[in-house]
């Protein structure tokens, strides 16, 4: 068994697509109209057949309180691997991205946490 798809709940799919592609650097994979929403997934350009990330509408009433509670305590909704967390931190901050946790070395792992502008915190991580 492999992980085929994971999702983040976003408050606006169009805004999310722009942030996840133009800013974070993912590539759009699937876009299927479903009423007023879309089945909208992105993938890493380095691994176009790899795990897809679904940008899922957050309209269900349970979702917004859940997201707000995670964000208040700084807890990421997802974690993405990068080559170099400090370099990616500098690049993204240059693009105006807000971080709730600056790069932190924890033994072999370095992490940082950013705001995806769609109501979630996202962790970036590299391992040495």
């Amino acid at each position: 068994m492999r992980i085929h798809l994971s999702s983040v709940f976003v408050d606006d799919q169009e805004k999310a697509l722009r942030f996840y592609t133009d800013v974070l650097g993912f590539a759009k994979k699937n876009e299927v109209p479903l009423g007023k929403d879309r089945w909208l997934t992105v993938v890493s350009p380095d691994d176009p057949d790899g795990t897809e990330l679904l940008l899922e509408p957050d309209g269900h009433p349970a979702v917004k309180p859940y997201k707000a509670a995670l964000v208040e305590d700084g807890i990421p909704a997802a974690s993405f691997a990068v080559d170099d967390v400090p370099a990616e931190f500098d690049r993204l901050r240059g693009l105006g991205v807000r971080f709730t946790q600056e790069p932190l070395e924890m033994g072999p792992v370095t992490t940082a946490v950013l705001d995806d502008t769609c109501g979630n915190l996202i962790q970036i991580v590299h391992s040495r």
Partner: protein
Amino acid sequence: MAEDVFKALADPTRRRILDELVDRDGQTLFEICARLVTKHGLGLSRQAISQHLAVLESADLIRSRRQGRYKFHDLNTEPLEHIVTRWLRPDGPESSA
């Protein structure tokens, strides 16, 4: 007030939290939890760490600050200065009962 500070400092986990806030001020609960588990092997639940933060906050050793949708925790060293001056410059009577 001083009683609260001594009680807050009596616990080793709470002292570690203060150590980590010296390293970087303005941490989320998530970062504090991550630092305690990865740097100190303290694998406490988030609820337990929240309770430690509440004790530190009631002693005014940390202050929590809401910034938009986020909540950050800052170190406040003022209560420590009162403790130190009590013995280094002992001219005032104990203020609290």
